[in-house]
Symmetry: C2
Subunit: 222 residues, 2 copies
């Protein structure tokens, strides 16, 4: 019984949200661009209500900023903030979640992880960065969800879209295969039920993506 990407079995606002998020991350909507409720609702063939709620959700995900009576504009990713704030937050968050989840994960959960790992391999083989990033984050979300900590999950929901944005932008700087390898290690570490080793692998995995240390990225600075 699929719960995600179910054509029309989920509320409209969810569909609208997924579409808009994807269009922001793929660059169809550029930073600074205004998102007008009426235009979007007409384009998606729905009313303004769901669009409105989706926009507010995007605001809580840090992808847009909205001010009363003036609407929502797309926010650009701040590499510095992602590296200095969001990634460290992610580390403390996942260190906690993974530890708690390790004791609670079922065979079914591990199955889901294996599935994401497979999707990641497939994506890596095809050089499909989008798919790799998608499976990557979904992998982590499964573990966080398995920890059954609502507050932690809540924080995750508010930061992962920005991290995804960041990965899609800078993911090409690292070979996709190494990402697959790291997640396989992560899966094995979880299955081993050894907190010590698991945290070591996790920390190494999360801390790694900091490409700007040698000033080699630059490029699109604004």
């Amino acid at each position: 019984m699929p719960r995600r990407s179910a054509g029309s079995q989920m509320p409209r606002r969810q569909q609208v949200l997924d579409i808009l998020r994807s269009e922001i991350v793929t660059g169809r909507y550029e930073p600074g661009e205004r998102l007008i409720e009426a235009a979007i609702s007409k384009e998606l063939g729905t009313s303004r209500g769901p669009v409105r709620e989706a926009l507010r959700q995007l605001e809580h995900e840090g992808l847009v900023v909205s001010v009363p009576y003036r609407g929502a504009v797309v926010l650009d990713v701040s590499d510095e903030e992602v590296q200095e704030v969001l990634i460290p937050i992610r580390l403390t968050l996942e260190s906690y979640s993974f530890t708690k989840a390790m004791e609670l994960m079922t065979d079914d959960d591990f199955g889901e992880l294996a599935k994401q790992l497979w999707l990641m391999e497939e994506g890596a083989r095809r050089g499909d960065l989008q798919q790799v990033v998608e499976a990557d984050l979904r992998f982590h979300e499964i573990v966080i969800a398995a920890s059954r900590r609502p507050h932690t999950m809540q924080v995750w929901r508010s930061i992962w879209p920005r991290i995804r944005n960041y990965f899609v932008r800078y993911g090409r700087l690292r070979p996709l295969e190494s990402n697959v390898v790291e997640h396989r290690e992560l899966l094995e570490a979880l299955a081993s039920r050894d907190p010590e080793q698991m945290l070591e692998v996790l920390e190494r995995h999360i801390a790694v993506p900091v490409p700007t240390s040698a000033g080699s990225v630059a490029g699109e600075a604004r």
Copy 2:
């Protein structure tokens, strides 16, 4: 020009949000209780729209959890998650914000800080925990806002209501006066423009509220 608590100059959803948040933190709505849109809208004399948006915002603040077609229920504060996740997150977030803000703060910003400090003193003198906590968090929000980092501000918005909840619950374990003293130190450290010293004071201030280390709290465990 006040932007907050302006009787009817802010959108209805904002008024509804403030009311509901306050009623959750004061315990009028207890954990596990359902929040029904129609009932709330009737009680507040507004339509369901703004109530709906306020509930969604509360969800993003981690105070309620809502599932499609079944509505929102009040979430209880998890002491463990606050201490192990939210507070560490707050530390990395504010370490960054305060550093960035120090170079950007205007005399007006410092004036606002002084104002909150005064309110805090006044509250402490009267033993008004609510007011002290209010001024405390507002103090920090002013600095974070002054750092002009939208993504950091966004994370702050999603965690401060839960931290406030936690403070209101356990704030009585520490004398209110020491809180005032710490913020005065913080203000002076910011004004000194010495990052080294400021971070030291900040870390000491944020790391302190961990009352359960000696197992002396317990009580309401669920």
